[in-house]
């Protein structure tokens, strides 16, 4: 368990540092990172906690805000950073950009920038696994906004009736771009919309341990062939919907609200716990940060040194 806690800490920390590094270099010196970015800092507990339970062969399906899902699932950092830099060495050879990340070897099946477009695909992927009798599961991440799309309901019903191995993870960060939850949703949470169809759990997404433990319990059920689950994780994003600002500059939320949530930072929370239990010394934190920093810098160098796709290849790859 101790080991697991440190793993979760490391996973979250790595996502946070990657997002911050991207933000610091976006729109700055690294002009060639020309891709619309949707950063996930603040929400790391969900990606880390859920993916901490997944095997390499399990697959995740992400959305426009999927740097964290990709990294937590074991997607290659270098290839992701190269993708953000529009390089041929990127995980999608520069064709996809930040919102379209794929690393099939490590179980990042796809991410879609069409909101909720990934949900039914995850269900179909699970159907294939059931037919092929593999014991892997599909996990799909989507937002509170996405849960409003009709296809989510259709997909959930389909998965349930066919007892498919899918975990629906809704990251409820209270906003769809700048529209707050309360003007779009009839209920106080998302899970209750679906609880007559399938088992639902609603947890504090900023508490990585809770996310981790709940997911472990749920994935056991799913792996046992008991059918799909819905996991709602309540959380908050620190940045604007896209780009690097903090939302306060966009005036869609107040500084007080942001500060309130910053105080609930999932990384800080675990750090405090680990320190209190004597499991994490300051020196160790520094060592971890140092290691991650080096990894990130190496990934950025790799990206910058890589070539961009040759324009002559524009028409290649439409067909398989």
């Amino acid at each position: 368990m101790e080991n697991m806690l440190l793993k979760l800490y490391y996973s979250m920390k790595r996502i946070r540092m990657v997002e911050n590094y991207i933000a610091d270099h976006y729109n700055g010196e690294v002009r060639e990172m020309r891709t619309p970015i949707h950063l996930c800092d603040g929400q790391e507990g969900i990606a880390a906690g859920v993916c901490g339970n997944l095997h390499r062969q399990d697959t995740v399906f992400g959305n426009h805000r999927s740097h964290g899902h990709y990294l937590a699932k074991g997607g290659d950092l270098k290839k992701m950073v190269a993708e953000l830099h529009n390089r041929e060495t990127g995980c999608c050879r520069g064709r996809g950009g930040s919102m379209h990340l794929i690393d099939r070897e490590n179980g990042v099946a796809l991410t879609s920038s069409i909101v909720a477009g990934n949900v039914s695909i995850a269900v179909g992927y699970a159907l294939a696994q059931k037919m092929k009798k593999t014991d892997t599961i599909s996990v799909v991440f989507f937002g509170d906004g996405a849960s409003e799309e009709g296809s989510v309901y259709e997909s959930i019903c389909y998965a349930k009736i066919n007892r498919l191995p899918v975990l629906f993870v809704c990251e409820n960060n209270l906003y769809s771009i700048s529209t707050p939850f309360c003007v779009r949703e009839p209920n106080a949470d998302i899970g209750s919309k679906f609880e007559t169809i399938l088992p639902v759990a609603s947890v504090d997404g900023n508490d990585v341990l809770t996310v981790y433990e709940k997911t472990r319990e749920i994935t056991e059920h799913i792996r046992n062939g008991e059918g799909p689950w819905f996991l709602e994780c309540k959380t908050y994003r620190y940045r604007n919907h896209h780009n690097t600002g903090n939302g306060v500059d966009n005036r869609f939320r107040t500084t007080e609200e942001l500060d309130l949530w910053k105080a609930k930072c999932p990384i800080m929370k675990l750090e405090r716990k680990l320190s209190a239990e004597g499991l994490l010394e300051n020196a160790e934190i520094e060592r971890i940060e140092d290691e991650i920093q080096k990894e990130i810098e190496a990934a950025f160098s790799y990206a910058k040194e890589s070539a961009c796709p040759d324009a002559g290849t524009l028409c290649e790859g439409v067909w398989s």
Binding site: N27, R31, E32, R34, T35, P36, E83, N86, R87, E88, G90, C92, G94, R95, G96, G97, S98, M99, H100, S112, S113, I114, V115, A116, G117, G145, A146, E148, E149, G150, S151, S176, I177, S178, T179, V183, R184, E185, N250, R251, F252, C308, P309, D310, A311, G312, T313, L314, C315, V318
Partner: protein, 369 residues
């Protein structure tokens, strides 16, 4: 024709590209003052999106049946500036945010239109309209006909095609060619602030479903816009510049590129006639025929894909009527049949601009029949 067999990119290309077009501006394209093509319009100078806002505000003020909705419509930016602050004047009952539920909410709009209102439903990108296809294609476009004319659907769907810096395959599609295939939906694609106001007011006044497609690269245009309400009839294109050698028909942002190309062509001794189609359906085929009769040559510059799209349709219409009078095959500048790539090296090769029009126009001029 498959697109461009490019020579490999020179190594210094990447850096140059960054410096030449700072990426923050690539999205909206260069600014063009439309007053130099629309000489005698009197009014206040405003941007394209201000003209959209102006039209929406006047329609809301005039007719309590009009309402405006869409995702994020009331946020600080307000749909690229086109709806900014409207809710403050007209209230959140008439200018309101919608959930991320395009399929259902499009049906709601259709129902509201049937029920006697005049909804304007706004989207950031036409790509998201794919979720609304059932309501648009199977319902909105059908009921007037299917009801023998007793069930009109006065609905405006407004969406903005994206282009530039990594929008990639799911946020940049120009889908008018696809919608054009379906009877019962009008399609409008203006380019100047003056036109957008008149055409949007016409769209709101129209008793049919109207798909109003803007383009990110025209949002930066400025021009004079009269304060009074006016409409521009559908099915009427405009001749932006008279010429005798070749007809260049521009669609949406490509009409602006055609104007830029015209200057370059003039310096090469080619006198091009520039047409801006403005409305895709109904289509001003008479304007095109009249022009091509005069010049004998046609180049169609479109923002969409080549296959099965509007350029194919217009070419056929022209061949049907002017087969013997053409001095050269119809030339087409359109997108290759490839999803939009994210990487800027590929993006640059993918999109067309004035230079591509110039090249194809020169090629057409060289061909003699």
């Amino acid at each position: 024709m498959q697109k461009k067999a490019h020579a490999p990119m020179p190594v210094h290309y990447v850096k140059e590209c960054g410096a030449k077009v700072p990426w923050t501006r690539v999205d909206s394209g260069e600014m063009l003052d439309s007053d130099h093509i629309l000489k005698d319009i009197k009014g206040q100078k405003m941007t394209y999106t201000e003209a959209v806002r102006n039209a929406l505000a006047q329609a809301l003020r005039l007719d309590e049946k009009v309402f405006v909705m869409g995702q994020g419509i009331n946020d600080e930016v307000g749909m690229f500036g086109a709806t900014t602050g409207l809710y403050k004047e007209f209230g959140e009952d008439r200018v309101f945010d919608t959930p991320l539920a395009e399929t259902g909410v499009t049906g709601v709009a259709v129902g509201a239109a049937m029920g006697g209102m005049r909804p304007v439903y706004c989207h950031n990108r036409p790509d998201f309209l794919m979720l609304a296809m059932d309501q648009l294609v199977n319902h909105a476009s059908k009921y007037n006909y299917m009801s023998g004319g007793i069930c009109p659907i006065p609905l405006v769907i407004w969406a903005v095609t994206g282009q530039g810096w990594g929008s990639a395959a799911q946020h940049s599609q120009a889908l008018h060619g696809m919608f054009m295939h379906v009877p019962g939906i009008k399609i409008i694609m203006p380019t100047t602030p003056y036109d957008v106001k008149g055409l949007l007011l016409q769209a709101i006044a129209d008793n049919n479903p109207v798909l109003f497609l803007d383009h990110r690269r025209i949002h930066n245009q400025v021009g004079s816009v009269p304060e009074e309400m006016y409409t521009i009839p559908f099915g009427k294109g405009v001749v932006r510049k008279q010429g005798k050698d070749i007809t260049i028909l521009g669609i949406s942002s490509m009409a602006l590129e055609a104007l830029r190309a015209e200057e370059a062509l003039r310096s090469k001794g080619i006198d091009a006639e520039i047409l801006d189609l403005r409305t895709i359906k109904p289509l001003d085929i008479e304007m095109i025929i009249t022009s091509v009769k005069k010049t004998g040559r046609l180049l169609i510059a479109d923002t969409g894909w080549k296959t099965g799209g509007i350029s194919a349709e217009i070419s056929t219409l022209v061949y049907e009527r002017l087969y013997r009078e053409l001095k050269a095959p119809v030339a087409r500048v359109s997108l290759p049949d490839v999803p939009t790539p994210a990487a800027y090296t590929l993006e640059e090769a993918y999109y067309n601009n004035a230079a591509d029009i110039v090249r194809e126009a020169e090629k057409s001029m060289r061909s003699v029949s």
